[in-house]
């Protein structure tokens, strides 16, 4: 397929393309030049990749002063295109009135789109830099509050990034 979507047929090729060797040499030249470029391969898992602030790793819940910011409004759950989020609200004596009695994200369903982060009225759910997600069963992939809650100190750079690009 050519770039404009038109099919290239054998008879469309030029003479030089049809004799094949010059094209091979062109390709080899590119490979050879790459030997002298900056290396971008990381020796994972010995070395780890530190993603930029714009990276969308797995969603986490922000914990501030020992409680989750989340008010269990369920908007993330509603907007999630993959139906990954389940929230059960309940009443709390705190000023925010409601809190998530249960908050679960099914990481197998999640497609890391960041819609939940975008819709949240409390900046309570944000995309972290965590990209290593390994499970041995479907059940394990359902993260509850225990795995989702992260102290605000650890996610400051993402919050700042969000404020800057609002």
């Amino acid at each position: 397929m050519s770039q404009n979507g038109k099919m290239i047929r054998k008879e469309d090729l030029s003479f030089w393309q049809r004799i094949y060797i010059p094209e091979i040499l062109k390709g080899l030249r590119l490979t050879f030049m790459a030997l002298f470029r900056r290396k971008i391969t990381i020796q994972y898992p010995e070395k780890r990749f530190t993603p930029p602030d714009s990276f969308r790793g797995r969603p986490v819940l922000v914990e501030e002063n020992g409680v989750e910011r989340c008010v269990a409004c369920g908007l993330c759950s509603r907007v999630c295109p993959a139906l990954a989020i389940e929230v059960q609200a309940n009443e709390t004596a705190l000023e925010k009135e409601r809190y998530p009695e249960k908050f679960e994200i099914n990481m197998v369903r999640c497609i890391f789109c960041g819609f939940c982060e975008e819709v949240c009225p409390e900046e309570a759910i944000i995309m972290s830099k965590e990209y290593e997600l390994v499970f041995e069963s479907q059940e394990e992939a359902v993260f509850g509050k225990d795995k989702l809650l992260v102290p605000i100190e650890k996610v400051r750079d993402r919050l700042e990034f969000l404020h800057k690009h609002r």
């Binding site: 008010v71 269990a72 409004c73 369920g74 908007l75 759950s77 509603r78 139906l83 389940e86 609200a89 309940n90 009443e91 925010k96 009135e97 409601r98 679960e104 099914n106 197998v108 009225p121 409390e122 479907q138 059940e139 359902v142």
Partner: protein, 553 residues
């Protein structure tokens, strides 16, 4: 008749009507907060302003009577400007609470903010803050900040519930809705103000924060709390009932229902007390068995007695279909005439909705020709003449006389959705579906036949294939989603259990749906003649009176 023009269309209308009523009749929406068809006109929200030719100022449609030749404009530029202004004004001190507000998704203020407002506020001062959790009574909690002072709840308390305890205090933006000192709003109808409130100021103590409205499915059904049979919607999420709300039916309950019915008739469906599977008593121990074994045990148990020794108790809690199948079984298969049902009354009829008869179906059982004189059966059990009893969904043993009598029986078969004093004494217990898990009909005290529909799925039902109302969660849940795994009970509608039992005793019936049973019922019982599920619809239909005159309620 008066001829009026609304938005350049001419209509002939009743001159007694107000502009808002006349427009509503013609399908033209005039936005309103304080106006409600069942309450007096207050005219305080100003949302219903319309332009009327020859009137210098805009007029409120809820308090302006139509007149011949009147020309009304509901969407002129002046009107739109006024609507924007009213919305902006109402929103000045309104909190940005939608994410945590139970009303979100069914809120007039929210809807109108899209439809009738420019969506921008010029107010950048601090909003007034007011109490967020003020209990008006045991069942209703007020969020004063969200109140738009429409006074619907105040008028409801005065005019419908006849408990005039709500009022406003303070002035201007400090107005606060409250109860009079030393009173609380605890009328048996108090919770109706929750739906009546156009915003989320009034919330249900029971349902508060339990779910967002868009997460639930809603199914049209009928309250089983008393013989009124108020029309309701059953709201379900993850196969669990979370709330009941009244559904308008001018012939039965108008817009209302009582708090008792709303709170007291659904928890047992979700509850831990359900009969989890059929069981039989072996050597004085309860043994859980499969359906076939339980049915076989009931059949062989009943066959051991002569027909004169067996009696049947129908139930005013069961549907007409269930009682009809039961009656057919007792008469045709067992061959006994000892059939009756127990009445359950408490208190008195009041002048709004509540009936002393606490069962939804006593009228239906009577229409089938089953009498409520169970005393002769009771006596014959005590005499030892009746030795076996087959009983539909009713806690007979809650009555001490019956409890003693049941203990004397040699064989007792019971259909029951929940474990209770009667199942304690039974030899075979067959788990029956509740009203929220099956199709069927009840007959209310006005002799109105009304339909119930399944809202909660049992193990053998499938929400999609069986035509249930489905929420988004129901539609997309797969095998590994916890939110799709709400508990399902192994229960069956009584008419089907009776059919299986008839089969086990050698008589095959061919009902496949509750509608089939109803069709045969309507053929055989004169009062039901000509009725069909389709004609009963969502509003109900009156039984024919024995004199064959159709009356209008």
């Amino acid at each position: 008749m008066a001829t009026i023009t609304i938005d350049e269309k001419k209509f002939e209308v009743d001159p007694q009507l107000t502009v808002i009523q006349a427009a509503a009749q013609q399908g033209i929406e005039i936005p309103h907060f304080c106006y409600h068809p069942k309450l007096s006109v207050a005219g305080n929200c100003r949302m219903c302003l319309v332009e009327i030719e020859k009137m210098p100022k805009l007029a409120i449609a809820c308090a302006t009577q139509v007149a011949d030749g009147m020309v009304v404009k509901t969407r002129s530029e002046r009107v739109l400007k006024a609507q924007h202004a009213v919305m902006e004004f109402l929103l000045i001190n309104h909190p940005l609470d939608c994410p945590i507000c139970d009303e979100a998704g069914e809120c007039k203020l929210q809807d109108y903010a899209y439809k009738y407002s420019i969506g921008a506020s010029r107010f950048d001062e601090d909003k007034v803050h007011k109490p967020k959790r003020y209990p008006l009574g045991p069942n209703v909690i007020l969020d004063v900040e969200r109140c738009i002072m429409c006074s619907r709840c105040v008028r409801f308390a005065d005019e419908i519930a006849h408990q005039p305890v709500l009022t406003f205090t303070q002035r201007g933006d400090h107005v606060v809705l409250t109860t009079f000192p030393e009173t609380q709003f605890d009328s048996p109808y108090s919770m109706n103000v929750i739906e009546l409130c156009p915003v989320g100021a009034l919330t249900s103590t029971d349902f508060r924060f339990r779910a967002r409205v868009w997460e639930m499915s809603s199914t049209e059904s009928v309250c089983v709390g008393c013989a009124r049979g108020c029309n309701i919607n059953i709201w379900v999420r993850n196969n669990e009932i979370l709330r009941l709300t009244p559904r308008q039916n001018e012939d039965v309950n108008s817009f209302w229902m009582c708090d008792e019915g709303r709170l007291g008739t659904f928890k047992f469906v979700n509850g831990p007390g359900r009969v989890s599977s059929p069981w039989i008593r072996k050597d004085d121990r309860k043994v859980t068995v499969g359906w076939d074994e339980a049915i076989a045990a009931a059949a062989s148990g009943l066959k051991a007695f002569k027909k004169g020794e067996i009696a049947g108790l129908a139930s005013a809690y069961a549907t007409n279909e269930d009682n009809f199948a039961f009656l057919k079984f007792m008469r045709d298969v067992v061959g006994t005439k000892a059939i009756a049902f127990l009445e359950h009354t408490a208190g008195e009829d009041d002048d709004l909705l509540i009936r002393a008869d606490k069962t939804p179906n006593a009228g239906g059982v009577r229409a089938l020709g089953i009498g409520s004189n169970a005393d002769s059966i009771l006596r014959r059990i005590n005499d030892g003449a009746i030795r076996a009893l087959y009983a539909l969904e009713d806690d007979i043993a809650a009555n001490p006389d019956w409890k003693n009598a049941l203990a004397k029986l040699e064989f007792l078969v019971v259909h029951s959705p929940v474990e209770n004093a009667t199942t304690e004494l039974a030899d075979v217990v067959l788990p029956a579906s509740t009203y929220a898990e099956k199709h069927g009909t009840f007959v209310n005290f006005q002799k109105r036949v009304q339909r119930i529909r399944p809202a909660v799925a049992t193990t053998e039902q499938d929400r999609a294939l069986d035509g249930f109302a489905m929420s988004r969660w129901d539609k997309f849940a797969s095998h590994n989603d916890r939110w799709g795994k709400g508990p399902r009970r192994d229960a069956r509608p009584s008419w089907r259990i009776v059919q299986s039992l008839a089969g086990a005793m050698g008589t095959k019936w061919k009902f496949t749906t509750a509608e089939n049973v109803f069709a045969e019922l309507a053929e055989n019982v004169p009062e039901f003649k000509g009725l069909r599920y389709l004609s009963i619809g969502t509003r109900g239909a009156l039984l024919r009176t024995p004199q064959r005159v159709t009356e209008k309620a």
